[in-house]
Amino acid sequence: MDSTLRLIASNPVDQLARTVEALLVVASAPLSVAELAEASADDPERVETALGLLRERYSERRSGIVLEEVAGGYAFRASREASDACARLFERPVERGLTQAALETLAVVAYLGPCSRPEVARIRGVAADSAVASLVERGLIAEAGRESAPGGAVRYRTTPLFERVFALESLAALPRLDDLGADTGELRDRLLEVASARAS
């Protein structure tokens, strides 16, 4: 009995899990497996195993802290059942008061980024300056170089914070655009009909 206990206590993966747990509680942004492996000076595969242990331990309805895979890494968050209590004490500065214009701009940058303000304006048909500024201030998008032409406009891309706020494991987790605009063909047909009527 005694020897069995000692065996469990000295289980190296369990020890690694404690280290990973410690790293995650200090972090304020998701940590990737590579970062966790480097910090704990251990093998990435073993870190994944340790994360599996932790995911089980920190899961909804089992713990007030939940380990989630988000924004290309792992992070602790509050359990959903504690959200009312959190809302009484804390603010959500990132997403509070996001306008429709900002959401449209965010969608353009998320799907087509990195892209510049003129590109966003071309797609939306209106200037995107204030929407872009608001998103930058919230930390949802960030500058990502310039367009290749000399004096090119600044390009923007979404940040890891965007993925975290929208609970995306990565940008690849966004739904496919084709699934969203299902009746595009119908629109095209109607316009073509108009054009041919005029040409004749």
Binding site: A29, I123, G125, L180, L187, V194
Partner: protein
Amino acid sequence: MAATSVRELELDLDAFEGPFDLLLTLLLKEELEPREVDIAAIVISFVEILAERDEIDLEACGEFLVLVSALLELKARLLFPDEAAELDGLEPEEAAEELARRLAEYRRMKEASVWLAERLAAERDRWFRLGPAPLAPQPERRLAPQDASALAEALRGLAVPPPKVSLSHMALRFPPVSQFLERFRSLLARRRRFDFDAEVGGLSRVEQAVAFLALLELRKTGEVALDQAAPFAPIRISSSRPWPATAPTGRSPAPPRSDAADEPMPSGAVQSTVPSGLGSSPTSQEREEGLELSHDERIETWTARSA
């Protein structure tokens, strides 16, 4: 037909995000052809809405102006594709295709923004810690190879006790009263009478004060007689002992020289009367020691006098 449809349209401008949004709504909900959109009718309906309200919302007006002008431009491009710079050289079919492509692109983004809004609402109960970027690149501090003996040398320089700060300038120096007693006595041994002011003229204020104490001491013991013609007039000091009782031997008694008393003594002569160790330029250490001694002595003098 188109005009009536637009008139019936409830034009809530806040609901539209740009001309594509408005156009999409017109195309899909009201089933209007783009080139048949009566923009004048839209303007009229907007003005009617404004008239119903008592106040003018300048922001809404500005937004409407932008929307309508963009819409007008789109319509013009569609109607006159040859003159539209962006659609230059395109056949009507191609122009329609281009507009359809752009509208479709916008529409997909609008759908995506709807998905994002729904996602945001669904994830509203996920709370997590927000903080400043915790993984800022760590500056690698590269140090040049150092010699241990250089470090020891640097430490040795620091280990030297700091020089003692001299406070000598912060206190008054009181020369001992006895110094002036002896000085005046030796002076009286050579001269029967002298002028106090002339004698102490070259001394500091403190030294003059101590010299005056010595003078009072001599007066008390009856060695001198003091004489002052008027307040602030020169103080004359004359020996009350019979001249030349204390005079150096071999000197004949000379008649009192009234004018000689007014003459200041040469500074060299004054210095020669000062006992050794209390010269005019003692070292700083001597001065400090002298200060302590004179201080104690002065207190003793005062204590003795008041007793």
